[in-house]
């Protein structure tokens, strides 16, 4: 029997055939007596081998579960218990206070009104008898004793408790004079001031994308890009999907081949991605400027502006760490070619230069991946487009400025 047919038969015994192979085996068994016989014997061997399987001890699973480490006890939430205790005490105190105040006020009112008697004045007269007529008669046992009648021959002042003896007036002491400070006009000259440290404060470049239509803004952006060894640009887009579309279009027009991760584009479509990252390390500062200007121009020509503002700043170690996580390898943002010195012009260089200028230049590669949320990032090993980019990126040129472009919504993300 042919080897390929034998392979088919043994694979059929293994139970791992494709649909097409299964059909072939079926046909073979129908047509060949030899194949049927061999298949039966191989199947018999398989059954006999399977019979060699031994059952594990009956309590094996229980033995393992019994030896699993016990989970740690959950920490007691002391703070929560204490705060709840204070809450109960506070509530109880509030209720007691409310009841106390309420009963005090009520007893005062009840005492004065229920007795049917108004408190008498110092002269013992009732202020308005007509009010007394409408008041209910006294029924309560609680009664306020009437104020004692003052004899007409005594002055009210005599009834008042004696006033405390007056304290003699104290003489205010004058505060001591303030210590006299150094008189700056007659003081000796100050010591010479040591030279100050020079500190360069860099302010990130922030501009509206629409302002890139102006030449001075373009120049400012180019200056910023030229100054830094590696750049991060945050592009704020009101509509992310549309923003990415316009970005890709502008990149293509400026000779940049964006390898967009398919999973990222899918997430953007489903609005599962809040920010995407475009990374390129073969662009010169002028290329990046041209790309931004193209985006600005396209944006101006669109019906509704998509891009809001642009924020360019020097890439930080944190950016490198994030990039490493996204692309799965250390990008070496600040690495430069060892031999960046210009080489002397040799014979034939002119010809090569002419050839290279006249030939169509290959697009500069860039890669587009999910940036945030971090949990939604495509695993570097799973992205075909990232692999393509990494294969094409080649060596970094001395003039190249590695750039991270984050396309994100204006609020957060």
């Amino acid at each position: 029997m042919r080897d390929d047919l034998l392979h088919l038969l043994t694979a059929a015994i293994d139970g791992e055939l494709s649909a097409a192979e299964l059909a072939s085996v079926h046909r073979l068994l129908c047509e060949s007596e030899e194949a049927r016989s061999l298949f039966a014997r191989l199947q018999s061997d398989s059954i006999r081998l399977k019979a060699l399987r031994k059952a594990p001890p009956a309590n094996l699973a229980e033995r393992v579960l019994a030896r699993l480490p016990q989970p740690e006890p959950a920490p007691v939430r002391v703070r929560r218990e204490r705060s709840r205790g204070w809450l109960v005490v506070g509530l109880a105190a509030s209720v007691l206070l409310a009841v106390g105040v309420g009963s005090f006020l009520r007893s005062n009112r009840t005492g004065s009104v229920a007795s049917g008697e108004f408190p008498t004045t110092a002269r013992g007269t009732i202020p308005d008898p007509s009010i007394v007529a409408v008041l209910p008669k006294a029924s309560s046992t609680v009664a306020i004793p009437p104020a004692p009648a003052i004899p007409p021959d005594r002055n009210v002042a005599e009834l008042l408790p004696p006033a405390p003896p007056e304290t003699p007036n104290r003489i205010e002491e004058i505060p001591p004079p303030r210590p006299k400070g150094v008189d700056v006009f007659v003081a000796p000259p100050l010591k010479p001031i040591p030279p100050l440290d020079r500190l360069i404060v860099r302010v990130p470049f922030l501009t509206a994308v629409s302002d890139l239509e102006r030449e001075d803004t373009r120049q400012q952006l180019l200056d910023e890009l030229t100054r830094e060894p590696a750049i991060r640009i945050d592009l704020f887009a009101k509509d992310q999907a549309r923003g990415i579309e316009m970005f890709q279009s502008a990149a293509k027009a400026t000779g940049i081949a964006v390898h967009a991760d398919a999973l990222t584009l899918d997430r953007v479509k489903k609005k599962q991605s809040t920010a995407v990252l475009v990374y390129a390390e073969s662009l010169a500062a002028a290329d990046i400027r041209d790309l931004m200007v193209k985006i600005s121009t396209d944006d101006a020509n669109s019906k509704q502006r998509v891009f809001d503002s642009l924020h360019a700043t020097a890439a930080l170690p944190a950016d490198q760490a994030a990039l490493k996580d996204v692309i799965g390898s250390d990008p070496g943002l600040w690495k430069r070619p060892a031999n960046a010195e210009p080489k002397p012009i040799s014979a034939g260089t002119g010809d090569e230069l002419t050839k290279s200028l006249t030939a169509k230049t290959a697009d500069k590669p860039a890669v587009l991946l999910t940036f945030t949320p971090a949990a939604s990032r495509t695993h570097p090993a799973m992205s075909k487009e990232l692999k393509e980019y990494l294969a094409k990126r080649g060596d970094r040129k001395a003039s190249a400025v590695p750039v991270l472009i984050v396309i994100r919504p204006p609020q957060g993300g």
Binding site: H7, A11, D14, A40, L65, R67
Partner: protein, 199 residues
């Protein structure tokens, strides 16, 4: 990795010990059979499986799901078995040391159960016949056949464990089955047919 395993592992990581119990139930038989071939006695095999599951439970967080859960367990069990063998390894005899000193190399021996006479005595006639035939296969053919038939691994699991392409697994299994048939053919002449054996 299949969805059931993924779910059970996630539940284990959230503290559900019953989920781990389900994983044990699911894989203990296959692991036990694999361990039986790596150690000397059934008790040792049970210990290997037990320790393998305990190790797996403690390092479950490090399991990323890149391979099948069983493949991962298989590797752990293999390492546990090797460690157990090392612990139980008898010290070399003086004679053996003397042989070594004299520069007389000993023949490499196949330490697997298939060729151990003492172990073979405990088996039935049918088992002995099969083990004898398996013992005569080359190691690479025997491994794939045992993994497939006794351990119940799939092509891709065997490929993962042995670090070989799936095509190689398929090809080795083909040759192993045909070789085994040739070896069993003369032995089967006097063997009574099995009841459930297909005609």
């Amino acid at each position: 990795m299949n969805d059931d395993d993924r779910r059970l592992i996630a539940e284990c990581l959230h503290g559900n010990r019953d989920a781990f119990g389900q994983l044990i139930t699911r894989y203990q038989s296959r692991l036990y059979n694999a361990a039986l071939r790596l150690v000397d006695t059934p008790d040792d095999a049970a210990d290997v499986v037990q320790d393998a599951f305990l190790n797996a439970f403690q390092s479950l967080r490090s399991f990323k799901g890149d391979s099948e859960f069983f493949t991962w367990m298989y590797r752990i069990a293999f390492n546990v078995a090797v460690s157990q063998k090392r612990r139980k390894k008898p010290t070399s005899s003086l004679n053996a040391m003397e042989l070594g000193r004299n520069g007389l190399s000993r023949e490499p021996v196949d330490a697997s159960d298939y060729v151990k006479p003492g172990v073979a005595l405990e088996r039935s006639e049918e088992e002995r016949r099969l083990y004898a035939a398996l013992g005569r296969l080359s190691a690479e053919h025997r491994d794939v056949l045992v993994m497939k038939e006794i351990d119940g691994l799939k092509y891709e699991e065997i490929a993962d464990v042995l670090k070989i392409p799936i095509g190689t697994v398929r090809s080795r299994l083909n040759r192993a089955r045909l070789e085994l048939r040739e070896l069993l053919e003369p032995l089967d002449e006097n063997r009574p047919p099995l009841i459930d054996e297909p005609e």
